[in-house]
């Protein structure tokens, strides 16, 4: 262990498209999923992360390194998270929220969910369906009835910007 030898332990993570990443154990254990694997002694070789692709994992590791380099200062951590997420598009955010959920990283999960909510807040129902890949399963009558009940919420919706 790092504490005994004085040199930081490095873990190797493998994405579902077989990319390998090295990351300091101290940063990687922000993920409860990885921490459990380390504690169970599965970290000897390569840790396979079956639900995360290489592109997303690279991003998550950037976050892990960035946030763990900040001392215990919630303000600074928050501003790092805001900056980290500021230039991400919806697709990337969606990949990240699912990865954060799989890796069980509550701080990233909170930040990305809030960011997605902020992005979709004023969007149309159609935009949300497209971005989440959701098929409308209402009949036109049912949809009209639900819409009628909350008519006021359709005021002030942004014009779709994705097509």
């Amino acid at each position: 262990m790092a504490a005994e030898t004085g040199t930081p332990t490095t873990l190797t993570l493998k994405s579902n498209d077989d990319e390998l990443f090295s990351v300091a154990e101290s940063a990687a254990i922000l993920s409860v999923t990885i921490r459990n694997m380390v504690e169970d002694g599965c970290a000897g070789g390569v840790i396979p992360l079956d639900n995360v692709d290489g592109k997303t994992l690279a991003s998550v590791i950037t976050y892990m390194n960035g946030i763990s380099a900040i001392p215990a200062d919630e303000e600074k951590k928050k501003s790092y998270r805001d900056k980290f997420l500021s230039d991400k598009d919806f697709e990337t955010l969606a990949d990240m929220v699912l990865a954060a959920n799989y890796l069980n990283m509550s701080c990233l999960m909170d930040a990305v969910s809030a960011k997605i909510a902020q992005v979709m807040e004023k969007k149309s129902v159609g935009w949300v369906r497209r971005k989440f890949g959701i098929e409308n399963d209402y009949t036109p009558e049912e949809e009209a009835a639900v819409k009628e009940e909350h008519k006021w919420t359709f005021e002030g919706v942004e014009t779709d910007d994705d097509n």
């Binding site: 959920n101 999960m109 997605i116 890949g133 209402y138 639900v146 009940e149 909350h150 919420t153």
Partner: protein
């Protein structure tokens, strides 16, 4: 659902929990499963616990750099386009604009003045650039001006520039009695005022402010209430804004009778009040407190033991329903507007 999200309903829920209520209601139409998630009692519980409920911290109303010993008398104005304004009648230095749908509060500093004043606030929007405009009416209560008039000052706040400017007016012969509110499209707001023309009796009228033309205007009451009629002290009146018209109720001070009802279309404040069918009769002393569009009216009643309760009167069915309002003993009740509920209410 996209396999990525369909296998992860808990992730969808995490995201939904962070949306404002207005978006949540709209996204019930995305898909049946979203409607199901949003309508679950556990979702409402988590939503409230996450701190997004309306928790109006009114501390700012008490803080005043001028006079720390002042009395706090908060008023709520709105909602207009999901905004409500909270202010203090007395000389506090700030007001709050609260966005009901985004659950956000903005504090606006008021222009500094040195009078001892009474304040009334109205707010609305101009059509052209949909800019938030706040009107502040200040009345000097201490120093009576020449000829016995009460001094007035009017300030306008422009939301885009985030700045105040002083506004010319001809309101010096008016006493502001009460703010009535803003019409639904946001272009006019109203006050109940009393005029004191030189050397003549007082009479009540409605003062309007037009947010598009930045102009005040007065409209008289229905003929029945002209001049001394309200001095007889047998009937009182109460005015509300309904959509884009004003509705006026006259109610007997001693209770137990019918309430008269009149409407006036507010566009330009011209034309006559139209008399509508009276409502009631109510068995107890009843005072109108709020209206719900064209559906009905909420009344505060006092029973023989002096206990206060609230009823809703339906114009169409003439039915009177008791309403339970959860509140603490000294809480004041202000009816704002019903928009919808997260979980369906079972009857």
């Amino acid at each position: 659902m996209n396999p990525r999200f369909s296998d992860n309903e808990d992730v969808v829920m995490e995201i939904l929990l962070r949306l404002p209520l207005k978006s949540l209601f709209r996204f019930k139409t995305v898909q049946k499963s979203w409607n199901t998630i949003i309508s679950m009692p556990i979702f409402a519980k988590l939503y409230v616990e996450s701190g997004r409920e309306l928790n109006l911290n009114s501390d700012f109303l008490h803080k005043s750099p001028i006079d720390s010993g002042e009395i706090c008398c908060p008023k709520i104005s709105g909602p207009v386009k999901d905004l409500i304004c909270i202010y203090n009648v007395y000389a506090t230095q700030r007001i709050a604009i609260f966005d009901l749908s985004a659950v956000k509060m903005e504090i606006i500093e008021l222009p500094i003045h040195t009078w001892h004043i009474l304040r009334s606030i109205g707010f609305g929007f101009n059509d052209r650039d949909n800019e938030l405009v706040v009107v502040q009416l200040l009345s000097c209560t201490g120093g009576i001006g020449s000829r016995g008039y009460i001094d007035k000052r009017v300030d306008l706040y422009f939301g885009n520039k985030k700045s105040w400017s002083k506004c010319k007016h001809h309101l010096d012969d008016l006493t502001i009695k009460k703010a009535i509110g803003t019409c639904k499209n946001g272009s006019f707001c109203f006050w109940l005022v009393e005029t004191q023309p030189y050397n003549s009796g007082r009479f009540m009228c409605v003062l309007s402010f037009d947010f598009n033309n930045r102009r005040f205007r007065k409209a008289r009451f229905p003929r029945l209430f002209y001049d001394g009629a309200l001095d007889g002290k047998k009937e009182k009146i109460k005015i509300f804004v309904n959509d884009n018209s004003l509705v006026l109720f006259s109610y007997p001070i001693l209770g137990g009778k019918l309430l008269g009802r009149w409407v006036l279309n507010v566009s330009g404040m011209i034309g006559e009040w139209t008399k509508l069918p009276s409502i009631g009769p109510f068995s107890q002393l009843s005072k109108p407190v709020a209206t719900w569009e064209n559906h009905g009216i909420f009344l505060k009643c006092i029973d023989r033991e002096g206990k206060t309760y609230f009823v809703f009167y339906d114009y169409a069915t003439r039915e009177i329903r008791n309403i339970e309002i959860p509140r603490k003993k000294h809480d004041r009740v202000k009816v704002v507007e019903y928009k919808g509920n997260l979980v369906s209410i079972r009857t």
